[in-house]
C-alpha cells in the first residue's frame, strides 16, 4: 500500500495518471462520446441536469455514467486507503454559488478545463482562447489567495454528510439501469434521453462507467486537478500538478492522431463556437470560480467521493447552474453564445469578485 501511495504522490505518478486519462478520453470519443468531449465534467453534469428534467434542452440530456464513476471510484480508493473523512462546513453557500457560476462560465465557452485541453488535443484552436481565459481567471483567484482569501475551515462531521453525494450517485446509477434508453424515444420512465446532439452521443453505458470508475480511483490517489495545475504554477512556480495536466494533453493528442480524430482549425469545430472574446471571458469566469473554490470540477467530484461535503455542495451548484444556463439562454451552442450569455458572464464575474474581496481571514 505504501509503495502505491508513494508512486501516486510522485511526479511519475501524476504524469502516468494524466497520460491514462488522455488516452481513455480519446478512446471514449472513439466509442461514442461526442467529438473532443471524451470527458467534460461541466458538459456531462449539464447532460445529467437535462436527463433529470432540470432543464429541457433536448440535445443535452443523458445521465452520464462517467460522472457517477468519478465519485464512486474516488470513494472506493478513499475507503481502501483509509482516506475517507466526512467533513464540511466551510462556507457551503458560497461554494454553491461558485459552482453555479463556474458552470455558467464553462457553458459559455462550451467546456470545463478538461474539455479545453481535449478540444486542443482534437485540433480546435478556439480552445486556446478558453485556456487563456482560464489562466487569467485562475491568476485573479491566486491574487485573492495571496491576499488572505479563505472560505474558512471545514470541520469533521458525521459519516452521513460524507456519504450523501456518493449515495446520490448510486441512486442515479439505479435510475439509469431501471430506465434504460429506448431507441427513438426521448423519455424512458423518469429520465430524458437526447435523440440528437451531444446528449445522444455516448459510449456504451458499462464502458463509460468503467472508465469513470478507473479515472476516479487514479485521480483520488494522485490528487489530479486541472485548475490546481495552473494555480500552483502561478502562485508557487510548482509544476507537480502541471505535469499531469500536460500529460493529459499529450496523450489525448497522440491518441487522436492515431485514431484520425485530429482536425486543426477554428471554424466548424465540434460543439464549439468562434466568438473569441466570449470563449476567453466564459473560461475566465469559470477559472476564477474554480480557484476560489479550491479545485477544478473533476477534483470537486473526487473530493466529494472522499467525504468532503463542501465539494458535494459545489457539485450541486454546478448542476443547478447548468439548469439555469439552459433555462435562461445563458449557454452557448455551435451557433454562438446564448442570448443572455454576456449578461451572465458579467454578473458571474461581479459575484466572484464580491466573494473574493469579502471572504477573508478574520483575526
Amino acid at each position: 500500500m505504501e509503495g502505491i501511495k508513494a508512486f501516486f504522490a510522485s511526479r511519475r505518478g501524476i504524469i502516468a495518471v494524466g497520460l491514462a486519462i488522455g488516452v481513455i478520453a480519446a478512446l471514449l470519443q472513439k466509442f461514442g462520446n461526442p467529438a473532443n468531449m471524451g470527458i467534460c465534467v461541466a458538459c456531462f453534469e449539464r447532460d445529467m441536469a437535462g436527463a433529470l428534467g432540470l432543464h429541457r434542452a433536448e440535445v443535452v440530456q443523458y445521465l452520464r455514467p462517467e460522472i457517477i464513476g468519478f465519485v464512486l471510484g474516488s470513494l472506493v480508493a478513499a475507503l481502501a486507503f483509509k482516506e475517507f473523512r466526512p467533513r464540511g462546513g466551510s462556507a457551503p453557500v458560497v461554494r454553491f454559488v461558485l459552482g453555479a457560476f463556474a458552470m455558467i462560465g464553462a457553458l459559455v465557452f462550451l467546456g470545463c478545463p478538461w474539455r479545453a485541453v481535449l478540444r486542443l488535443a482534437g485540433g480546435d484552436g478556439n480552445a486556446l482562447l478558453g485556456l487563456a481565459g482560464l489562466t487569467t481567471g485562475i491568476g485573479v483567484g491566486a491574487l485573492f489567495l495571496k491576499n488572505g482569501y479563505t472560505l474558512g475551515r471545514a470541520q469533521k462531521t458525521s459519516a452521513a454528510a460524507g456519504w450523501l453525494l456518493p449515495l446520490i450517485m448510486v441512486g442515479f446509477l439505479v435510475l439509469l439501469l431501471a430506465n434504460p434508453q429506448v431507441a427513438e424515444q426521448a423519455k424512458s420512465g423518469v429520465l430524458f434521453y437526447s435523440l440528437k446532439g451531444p446528449g445522444a452521443a455516448h459510449a456504451p453505458l458499462f464502458l463509460s462507467l468503467a472508465a469513470g470508475l478507473l479515472i476516479g480511483v487514479l485521480a483520488q490517489r494522485s490528487r489530479f486537478c486541472t485548475m490546481g495545475a495552473i494555480r500552483d504554477l502561478l502562485l508557487f512556480r510548482h509544476t507537480h500538478l502541471l505535469g499531469g495536466f500536460l500529460a493529459l494533453l499529450v496523450a489525448a493528442l497522440v491518441t487522436n492522431l492515431a485514431l484520425g480524430q485530429f482536425h486543426w482549425g477554428f471554424d466548424k469545430q465540434p460543439v464549439a463556437h468562434s466568438q473569441h472574446l466570449w470563449n476567453f471571458a466564459g473560461m475566465a469566469l469559470a477559472g476564477l470560480a474554480f480557484a476560489l473554490a479550491g479545485g477544478c470540477p473533476g477534483r470537486q467530484l473526487f473530493m466529494a467521493g472522499e467525504g468532503d461535503g463542501d465539494a458535494a455542495v459545489f457539485v450541486f451548484g454546478m448542476i443547478v447552474g447548468a439548469a439555469f444556463a439552459h433555462n435562461f439562454g445563458l449557454a452557448s451552442s455551435p451557433a454562438g453564445i446564448g442570448p443572455n450569455g454576456m449578461a451572465a458572464v458579467l454578473v458571474g464575474l461581479a459575484a466572484c469578485l464580491f466573494i473574493g474581496f469579502t471572504m477573508r481571514k478574520t483575526a
Binding site: A9, F81, E83, R85, R87, S90, L145, K146, T150, L151, G152, R153, A154, Q155, K156, R223, C225, G228, R231, D232, L235, F236, H238, H240, A293, G294, G295, E306, D310
Partner: protein, 74 residues
C-alpha cells in the same frame, strides 16, 4: 523553538501557502504543520522540501497529522 502552523480544515492551496509564507518570513529550525487530510500532508511535505525543509516526523493526531520539518544544513 518551532514555528507551528495550523492548516487543519483549510482548502487547497492554503496549507501550502501558509507553510511557504512561514518559511519566507524566516521560520525556526523546526517547522510544525497540522493538517487534516492526506492531500494536504503530501502537498505541504512537497512544498517544504522544495524550500530545504526535510520531513523529520509524521504523527497521526486528532484525525489528522502533525508534520514536523527540520531545516536541512546547506
Amino acid at each position: 523553538m518551532a514555528t507551528t502552523i495550523d492548516a487543519r480544515g483549510l482548502s487547497c492551496p492554503q496549507p501550502v501557502l501558509l507553510t511557504l509564507e512561514a518559511i519566507s518570513a524566516g521560520a525556526e529550525e523546526q517547522l510544525v504543520v497540522l493538517v487534516d487530510t492526506d492531500t494536504s500532508r503530501e502537498n505541504v511535505t512537497r512544498a517544504a522540501s522544495s524550500r530545504g525543509y526535510r520531513s523529520s516526523e509524521v504523527k497521526a493526531e486528532d484525525d489528522g497529522y502533525r508534520l514536523t520539518f527540520t531545516k536541512s544544513r546547506p
